[in-house]
């Protein structure tokens, strides 16, 4: 059989549900069998968790099993889920906390590489804040991409948010300066800043982000209150570099994981959470305005293991 045939056949095989696998194991063990571990490894690797984090997770599980033992299959299930959830132990608040505002205006800055879904996420975020009863202003600081203004305008209309924009090609800092001033003057509750997609390797573009942040802080020293990096669920190991670099330049308070309605699992956030301790705050599950959810590690881990 040729390489391609072998591969195609391999890819056709879907996973036996790992929980079924667990059920087949013998009771009262202080070890997990290799078959099970191999399958777990494949699930994790295949979800973009990354080889390092996968090894750590499996080591931890092995240790846990040694000390805690398990008598019934559901106990092993619990141990497994537990180990996976541990990675997200920090900073994932409940809905009331996520949308809690301590200062007015509450400034949220949205950043990310090209094509991950920043603008759509902003539309959904604005909608959510509106639903919580806040007045929202959007700063259209993507002055680079063709028709970015028009796209954001549509989302502002859909969510009922105000929008501040300048001509394509203008200085994004100028847009932000206008928006923050106007939000202060008009007593708005929330300002969401859309920025142009940029690869984290482009120094001048990353410096531009820094400048935007400086301009915000000139008016509101404690802002931005949230700086969220948008990560596309299809992203592979490069996502770690993205998080590292954006974090280095402007600091991040959280992640938005988008496009989870597809077949991609978004496992890279395990690695980002594990290595950089940046919490996932929201997930995007569709192209409609309601398709933004507050991140819940329980269901995230469940989805990862169940198919």
């Amino acid at each position: 059989m040729g390489f391609f045939d072998k591969l195609k056949q391999g890819l056709q095989k879907t996973h036996d549900n790992i929980f079924n696998k667990v059920n087949k194991l013998v009771y009262a063990k202080s070890e997990v069998d290799d078959d099970f571990l191999e399958q777990l490894e494949e699930i994790l690797l295949g979800s973009d968790v990354g080889v390092q984090t996968t090894e750590i997770l499996i080591e931890n599980l092995k240790k846990r099993v040694k000390t805690d033992k398990y008598e019934y299959s559901n106990e092993l299930n619990t141990l497994l889920k537990d180990e996976l959830k541990k990675v997200f132990s920090e900073g994932n608040g409940q809905k009331t906390q996520v949308f809690k505002i301590t200062k007015k205006p509450h400034v949220v800055m949205i950043v990310g590489v090209n094509g991950v879904g920043k603008t759509t996420s902003i539309g959904k975020l604005a909608h959510n804040y509106k639903n919580e009863g806040y007045s929202v202003m959007i700063a259209a600081a993507d002055t680079f991409r063709a028709a970015a203004n028009e796209q954001l305008e549509t989302w502002a209309q859909r969510s009922g948010a105000e929008i501040i924009q300048l001509q394509q090609g203008s200085d994004p800092s100028a847009v932000v300066y206008n928006a923050i001033n106007s939000a202060v003057a008009n007593n708005h509750d929330v300002v969401i800043i859309d920025t142009a997609g940029r690869l984290h390797t482009k120094v001048n573009l990353m410096e531009e982000l820094k400048k935007i942040k400086r301009v915000v802080q000139k008016i509101l020293p404690e802002a931005p209150h949230e700086t969220l990096l948008v990560i596309d669920a299809t992203t592979g190991q490069n996502g770690l570099n993205q998080a590292k670099e954006f974090s280095k330049y402007i600091g991040l308070t959280g992640l938005i994981l988008t496009k989870l309605d597809g077949t991609a699992k978004g496992g890279i956030v395990f690695r980002i959470s594990n290595e950089l301790k940046i919490p996932v705050k929201f997930i995007g599950v569709g192209e409609q305005i309601n398709d933004l959810q507050v991140f819940d590690k329980e269901s995230f881990v469940k989805a990862l293991l169940e198919d």
């Binding site: 391609f4 028009e150 190991q237 490069n238």
Partner: protein, 446 residues
């Protein structure tokens, strides 16, 4: 990464050199490292598994246990397997005799379809085609405006209307092409998930009705493990003709390219290397293989050179060359010598791809090996005296050399000019200026 790899390699094999024997366990240990490298580069884990098995079988069949340089043998095997998987040679865009040739651009949301459509239109025009574009993303807000705006930037017409019907828009755009003598129509479609049945049916209908000469599947180079699922699903539905890899201007290793190539045997045709509309390049399989493995390291060039040089360029010869250089007596004999050394190191583009930064400087331009062969022919047609003393090369001698080498007088003149540049280059190399060194190769348009 390659450095890391070869360090690990060294560790694994260091004791072997002493004992002169490799075991299967050594190979397995090393291949485990290779596996990690590939997984880190986002190659699909199933593809990695089969790839490693294949490399192992291949290596074992090559008498690796008795090989003098097992490390090199394994690295070479990995490299050639990778290149084989990547598709070995370039495949171009096809056109039909119908007017217009329709090229459909499809893919997931945000993968870079619209930008690529405009880049391709611009590129094809520079190759003598007369393109137009059709804005068939009727769903995403401002998607049509985006394409219109990009069309304006490169001055290529964009057909759109507000029928909200992608098929109608594309058909009207075809009519527009026939009426306005546009021979190529690039159809930008909406981003869609492979599991969105309704949207996948829409694009199937587009294919059936438009009968495109090319369907191009656009993938973000930063894609992880899911690349295979999507690529396969789109392939099942559309049987597309080629793959486009975008956003390679970042630091992603781009393992998705390998995964996709492994599951659908369709060529990768172009890569996107920036947001600007000229940031498009043909795809080169060997370079991509190198990128995935994390080549591009000077050490491998040095290693390779060290393999060849000791036997060929002994101490005495080196000293003589240095003396000559110091006395400014570097002549055509030395030039020829150098050329032959370089040739022994393998194809020029391969050598250049191993120099950090060279890839960026080359920016996808093909390194032409032909001029090098010409240079050799010209020099070997010179008498020994002429080679030693280039100043005597007057008009009649040049004419004779041209006739003797089957070249033209312009070629001979060029070689003589290059010789003088080579003299300068050797001096610069002594000062360690790699960049200038690179410029002296025959790379067009640097």
């Amino acid at each position: 990464m390659f450095e890391e790899l070869s360090n690990k390699f060294d560790k694994v094999f260091s004791f072997i050199r002493g004992k002169g024997k490799v075991t299967e366990a050594n190979i397995d240990e090393f291949l485990r490292e290779v596996r990690r490298v590939l997984l880190d580069a986002d190659v699909n884990y199933k593809v990695v598994k089969d790839f490693i098995q294949d490399v192992k079988n291949n290596v074992l069949s090559q008498n690796v246990f008795t090989s003098i340089n097992p490390a090199q043998l394994i690295i070479n095997t990995i490299n050639s397997q990778l290149i084989k998987l990547m598709g070995e040679k370039r495949t171009d865009i096809h056109f039909s005799n119908n007017i217009p040739s329709v090229i459909m651009v499809v893919g997931l949301q945000g993968s870079g379809k619209t930008t690529f459509a405009a880049k391709l239109a611009n590129y094809l025009r520079s190759k003598g085609r007369s393109p137009a574009m059709a804005a068939c993303d009727v769903y995403r807000p401002a998607a049509i405006e985006q394409l219109i705006s990009l069309g304006k930037q490169v001055n290529i017409p964009v057909y759109s209307d507000d029928s909200k019907d992608p098929l109608k828009i594309a058909q009207n755009a075809s009519d527009y092409c026939r009426q306005n003598f546009k021979d190529t129509l690039i159809v930008d479609t909406a981003g869609r998930l492979a599991i969105d049945e309704e949207m996948m049916r829409e694009v199937e209908t587009l294919k059936a009705e438009l009968n495109p000469t090319e369907i191009l599947f656009v993938v973000d180079a930063m894609t992880g493990q899911d690349a295979v699922n999507t690529a396969k699903e789109f392939h099942n539905r559309l049987d597309y003709d080629g793959i486009i890899l975008t956003k390679l201007d970042g630091d992603t290793r781009g393992g998705a390219a390998l995964s996709i190539r492994a599951v659908v045997t369709k060529p990768i045709k172009f890569v996107g290397i920036g947001e600007k509309l000229d940031a498009i390049e043909p795809f080169y399989p060997d370079r991509m293989a190198g990128r995935i493995m994390g080549h591009g390291d000077l050490t491998s060039l040095v290693e390779k050179a060290a393999e060849i040089l000791p036997q060929e360029l002994d101490e005495k010869k080196l000293k003589k060359l240095e003396e000559k250089l110091n006395k400014n007596k570097f002549d055509f004999n030395d030039f020829l010598d150098q050329l032959q050394q370089i040739k022994k190191m393998g194809p020029l583009s391969q050598i250049l791809s191993m120099i950090p930064g060279a890839d960026k400087m080359l920016k996808g331009r093909e390194v032409d090996e032909k001029p090098m062969k010409k240079v050799e022919a010209v020099i070997t047609s010179m008498t020994f005296k002429e080679r030693e003393n280039p100043n005597i090369l007057n008009g009649s001698r040049r004419r004779r050399i041209a006739a003797g080498s089957g070249t033209t007088i312009q070629d001979v003149n060029r070689v003589i000019k290059q010789f003088h540049e080579m003299q300068r280059m050797i001096k610069q190399m002594k000062k360690g200026k790699m960049n200038n060194f690179l410029k002296n190769f025959n790379i067009p348009n640097i």
